[in-house]
Symmetry: C2
Subunit: 223 residues, 2 copies
């Protein structure tokens, strides 16, 4: 019945399959049941390799983050941090579900810690105080993972603008004039209509790096 000598599962193969499944079908499709089906195995078999669902997604995050490339050693702190953040952003583009995974996983993972440690190390080597590094990284927030903390569209995979009829749209513009003006200004500048995600992301990133540079030079101390 069983394939002769089907090599036994292990954690790495489970995680790899989970990544592939999420890539193909999105984060919601990553269930213990569908994953086990993909591996030709019964759902409970996964629990021999993974403590629970949370451990699974933490492991997936860990696997992906552990593959972030490292910047050249010779780079300045700013280029180095930027490189790491953009590397995270690039991974996010290849695995859009990563965002929800990072938001969902609760177990701390070595690779995740290593990424944070590396960013902190870039700053420490440049002479930043750990006090400033600490506060600065909190200010950076999710940006160190390559995505901005969006206040607008919480779910980036949701319905893409349900074609609002003009009357409704006019009412909206009247009720929320400033939001409407932002939209108008934005489409005037970029007729394609959508936000320029990359530009906005880099705007925020450089803003914060600038600020940290200035505070470092000024000998900032907390409180």
């Amino acid at each position: 019945m069983v394939e002769p000598h089907r090599s036994p599962l292990n954690r790495a193969r489970v995680l790899e399959a989970a990544i592939a499944l999420a890539d193909e079908a999105g984060p919601d499709a990553l269930s213990m049941r569908s994953l086990s089906a993909r591996l030709g195995v019964v759902p409970m078999a996964l629990y021999k390799h993974v403590a629970d669902k949370d451990d699974l997604v933490s492991g997936v995050i860990d696997t992906v983050v552990s593959r972030y490339p490292a910047p050249d050693a010779g780079l300045g702190w700013r280029e180095s941090v930027r490189y790491r953040v953009h590397a995270a952003r690039a991974a996010l583009e290849r695995h859009p579900w990563l965002r929800s995974g990072i938001l969902q996983a609760t177990r701390q993972s070595p690779a995740v810690l290593a990424h944070l440690d590396a960013v902190a190390g870039d700053l420490a080597r440049a002479g930043f105080s750990y006090d400033l590094i600490h506060y600065g990284m909190h200010a950076l927030g999710h940006r160190v993972w390559g995505f901005a903390p969006e206040a607008f569209s919480p779910a980036p995979g949701a319905a893409p603008a349900p074609a609002p009829d003009p009357a409704q749209l006019a009412a909206l513009a009247a009720a929320f004039p400033h939001v409407a003006s932002i939209a108008a200004d934005s489409t005037a500048r970029n007729p394609a209509g959508a936000c320029d995600d990359d530009a906005e992301f880099d705007f925020g990133l450089e803003l914060l790096l600038d600020a940290m540079e200035r505070l470092h030079a000024a000998g900032w101390v907390s409180r």
Copy 2:
């Protein structure tokens, strides 16, 4: 059998009960079934007042956000924005589940739009260009909702440090020296040990407001 003339449900009462339930038992306990039980009604009855679960949580968010107080009209743009952001933060403290709700809800809500519009309005009245307002609010990100985009502990309600044994801790410190140094520096400054969330939040907020002020004065334009 039924209570005589039990007043019929309506959307507002459903949302109010949902808020109370979330306050008492957390966001995970807010299910259609438990909510209906609380209202003495069968689960499907809720669907007469709410389109689906997502509509429920969107409605809850809308209700809470619509109660954010408004700053005095005479305030400067900076005080006004700060007031709104801190008002959101205060609401978050009263309803910790709000964070997960905001992250989870996908339907756009009038109150949410109004909050964003109000912040944008504060800036617009001070003469900021909509271009800068747009980019600036993206940089602010979730901070306009009163919570920082945490890169460290994704789930603020999770296990509170599982008392790691010293050997393990030393190994961690060796593997992640910069993270360890940050922790050491932080506990040296604040023997209580924990991060000073408020100080970190305000640090990031003021950083961004400073930057926006400077860019505005310099006549910044995107691209």
